[in-house]
């Protein structure tokens, strides 16, 4: 999806990093098993986080499998399990809608590429939609609402971020225990809010240049796509509020085999990514991390 929700690698123990890799690779294999080889490109850190968050608490079982990127050696992968399945279904649904969104937002040639890609993913989307009808329906409804607000050039970051936050919140729809559901609802809502706002900050300069909608342009009258110190303080405040809500909710979750990695993601990863986005170094850091 966006890749903002990830652990801070430098603070993970080697064994924790290997476990995180096993879930990431497990999600990649789950996508292939369910939706074919092309869907592997949809694997991402945000849904790896979701798969770990939804863990039932049972001891994870891993297997050694070949990776299509480095075929020479086998990699440790988390075996197929319900939480990987849900994360794979959600990845396909959100990716398809994101591509459909691109068809409307981009210029003719880019829109054509989005149209072709979404066409290729249509079969997988239909399959995922059958497995997760409620989530697919909510994503579709909320994105229509988001597009309507965009068309009105909505200047409220809260209103825009809320629509996206509600999409992520609905990912907890399948959780049956009411208390756990409430905690996950709250946690995912604020993670969604953070992701939306970070993405708006990250894309601001480019959106400004291209004349694309970005709520920050209308909220802060950003000059040449740059935010003033006051604008940044205001954004930091709202992000800190959501981050505190994520921490309070996370503290109420029962421990599971991935708690250490999730803790790293919540307490260290999210603030680090936030700083990188504010400093304008996020895209560069993302590239560096890809090669390590």
């Amino acid at each position: 999806m966006y890749g903002y929700v990830r652990p801070l690698k430098g603070e993970l123990k080697v064994s924790q990093y290997e476990s995180f890799q096993a879930v990431y690779c497990g999600l990649c294999h789950e996508l292939r098993r369910r939706y074919g080889p092309a869907s592997r490109f949809l694997v991402n850190y945000d849904f790896t986080f979701l798969a770990m968050l939804f863990s039932s608490g049972q001891t994870p079982v891993c297997e050694m499998l070949h990776c299509p990127v480095s075929r020479l050696r086998k990699h440790r992968c988390l075996c197929s399990c319900p939480e990987l399945g849900v994360a794979a279904d959600y990845s396909v649904i959100l990716a398809w809608w994101k591509l459909r969104d691109g068809v409307h937002d981009e210029n003719f040639f880019k829109a054509l590429a989005y149209r072709l890609s979404s066409g290729l993913l249509r079969g997988a989307y239909r399959k995922a939609q059958k497995k997760q009808p409620e989530f697919a329906e909510i994503v579709a409804r909320r994105l229509v609402e988001l597009n309507a607000l965009e068309a009105d050039r909505c200047p409220s970051i809260d209103r825009m971020a809320e629509k996206f936050a509600l999409i992520l919140q609905s990912a907890a729809g399948g959780v049956s225990d009411p208390a756990r559901r409430r905690v996950l609802d709250e946690l995912l809502y604020h993670v969604g809010r953070i992701v939306y706002i970070l993405d708006a900050i990250d894309d601001l300069a480019e959106d400004f240049k291209k004349g694309n909608y970005n709520p920050l342009v209308y909220r802060f009258s950003a000059q040449n796509g740059a935010l003033t110190d006051d604008d940044r303080d205001s954004l930091r405040l709202t992000l800190r509020h959501s981050h505190n809500s994520v921490i309070s909710a996370f503290a109420l979750l029962e421990k599971n085999p991935w708690t250490d990695i999730l803790e790293n993601t919540v307490y260290l990863g999210l603030p680090w990514v936030t700083e990188m986005v504010f400093s304008g170094r996020w895209k560069e850091q993302k590239e560096i991390l890809k090669h390590h």
């Binding site: 409430r182 905690v183 809500s245 309070s248 503290a251 109420l252």
Partner: protein
């Protein structure tokens, strides 16, 4: 009630000091001040109650020897 040691997340062989430190850490974590105006305040309160009961049980058990 659940096993008080697992509620606090400590081993039954943990020293009194270790248990006290863990209890204080957890009490700080779930303190009502951290959940002021938070929709999950009731769940944090329940958790706090559970932790207090677990600590009381362990302390009384150890006092009795």
């Amino acid at each position: 009630m659940n096993d008080p040691y697992s509620v606090l997340g400590v081993s039954p062989s943990a020293s009194d000091d270790e248990i006290k430190k863990t209890y204080h850490d957890l009490a700080r974590k779930y303190h009502p001040d951290n959940y002021h105006d938070n929709p999950l305040a009731d769940l944090a309160q329940e958790k706090m109650k559970e932790i207090n009961e677990a600590y009381d049980t362990i302390t009384k058990q150890r006092e009795r020897g």
